[in-house]
């Protein structure tokens, strides 16, 4: 049987003997499981309001709430938490209704043993992960759809309106035709960007991977940007741990380094611009860090938007760019099981830490 990752379980059960039996079964499972318990529904709800829990095991016969009402109340307040009902009631209709209300499973106390418990927890954990992935994908689809419809509408709306003015004299017509062309170019660019994003998202998981030395990638990227770096007198400091490698798609890894270095150059500091690139291993992670003393980002205002598509933090008139780089590299990193952390302050600089 597979091993469970670290798991936090809340048992809501008023029977002391049942709590002890359950606790013993948990101890018999060869995994890191943190078990908390409450003997009332109110106690369980209070606990959940203050603590993060992966799975709730719920008895249906609590002193402050009988039957499926306790399940209904829990799912209403905490729809995202998996609830497994643990009951002495063999009635299959009750079991069906519990699942319909949103219980992840229905276990009979009389049939419970460590093996069955472990299997149930394992399967439910897998289902939770799949549900979360599905929700994430749905949210991405929503965001993509909103951006696609909103951003595509802008140039289209302009074109519709410009058509009204094409009956004017030749000079006017030429002006409006030029604007039509600009709007069409804008439309074309947005479609191209959206296509890039879709293509990337659909190929990340299946892309071939190999052992890649980060030092080599950084070297390539710096070579590509050498002209800009020297022209703009940017000091580049390298703090690269020797021999740091990661199993990754080489092009994707280069894309991550390239985007961050390119942004650091674009949004460089006005005085003594500096970029610090670091690589190191931290526990099981390989980390690439890109720090600059440039324009920075107001995270209080923009924190939730950092990795949104077409999100820009500085004027296009000041700095060119479509605003999809961070979104794309975040997709790459997340699909590979990593994360990007950002510290940033306006006019102080930014520090991107990529856990690959």
């Amino acid at each position: 049987m597979g091993k469970l990752d670290t798991l936090k379980i809340l048992l809501i059960e008023d029977g002391e003997a049942d709590r002890m039996i359950f606790s013993n079964y948990i101890d018999d499972i060869d995994s890191e499981i943190y078990l908390e318990s409450e003997s009332t529904l109110i106690g369980g709800i209070s606990f959940l309001q203050e603590n993060e829990i992966d799975i709730v095991i719920l008895d249906l016969n609590l002193p402050d709430c009988k039957g499926l009402d306790s399940l209904i109340q829990l799912k209403k307040q905490f729809p995202q938490i998996a609830v497994i009902v643990l009951s002495g009631n063999r009635d299959i209709l009750i079991a069906d209704e519990a699942i319909a209300i949103g219980a992840s499973d229905y276990l009979l106390k009389a049939h419970l043993d460590p093996d069955r418990l472990q299997r149930t927890l394992l399967y439910n954990l897998e289902r939770i992960k799949k549900d979360e992935l599905l929700k994430k994908r749905y949210k991405e689809l929503e965001q993509f759809t909103y951006i696609a419809t909103h951003d595509l509408k802008s140039p289209l709306n302009n074109m519709i309106q410009l058509l009204e003015y094409l009956n004017g004299d030749e000079e006017e017509r030429a002006t409006y035709m030029e604007m039509m062309k600009q709007s069409m170019d804008s439309l074309k660019n947005i479609i191209a960007s959206l296509t890039d994003v879709l293509e990337l998202k659909s190929t990340i998981k299946s892309s071939p991977k190999e052992e890649v030395a980060l030092e080599d990638i950084i070297s390539d990227v710096l070579r590509d940007h050498n002209y800009l770096i020297s022209e703009q007198n940017i000091e580049v400091i390298l703090e690269l741990e020797k021999g740091v490698k990661k199993r990754y798609n080489k092009a994707h890894l280069k894309s991550i380094v390239q985007n961050l270095v390119s942004n650091a150059i674009k949004y460089k500091g006005k005085v003594n611009p500096k970029i610090i690139l670091k690589t190191y291993s931290s526990n099981a992670d390989v980390v690439f860090q890109c720090e600059d003393n440039g324009l920075g980002i107001d995270l209080q205002k923009e924190g939730g938007n950092i990795f949104k598509m077409f999100k820009r933090f500085h004027k296009k008139s000041e700095i060119e760019g479509k605003g999809i780089g961070l979104s794309m590299i975040n997709s790459i990193v997340e699909e590979n099981g990593g994360k990007i952390l950002l510290e940033s302050e306006p006019n102080v600089g930014s520090n991107f830490k990529v856990f690959l």
């Binding site: 419809t149 709306n157 302009n158 604007m179 205002k301 004027k315």
Partner: protein, 120 residues
Amino acid sequence: MKFNKIHILDDDKISSMLLAKKIESLGFTGEIDKSFTAAEAYPKIKGPNEVLFLDQNLECCIGKDVIDQLQQIGIQGLKIILISSQFNASHEELQNSSNNIIGKIVKPFSAEEIKKLLCQ
């Protein structure tokens, strides 16, 4: 129309020009000022007898940020019309949050809708 000056704040220069043309076609003879960034707009806005057509998705901020900033600056009496290619529930909420926001218009602009809002 009761306004002396109309401000348009939209980072889309073509859209801004088209809106200005539509307003002129309605016979508005006052000043129409176009800004493409919030920073550019703030010093030009005085408030009384003025209306601001405010795009909801500016390059570096959203419409709500501009409204909050105008409040902080202390601009009084300015009427605001929200403009966007696409409105959602948050815009509805924004519109209901202030009596100074007198309406919203979806792009492409309709002369009748603009007239209705400017003449109310």
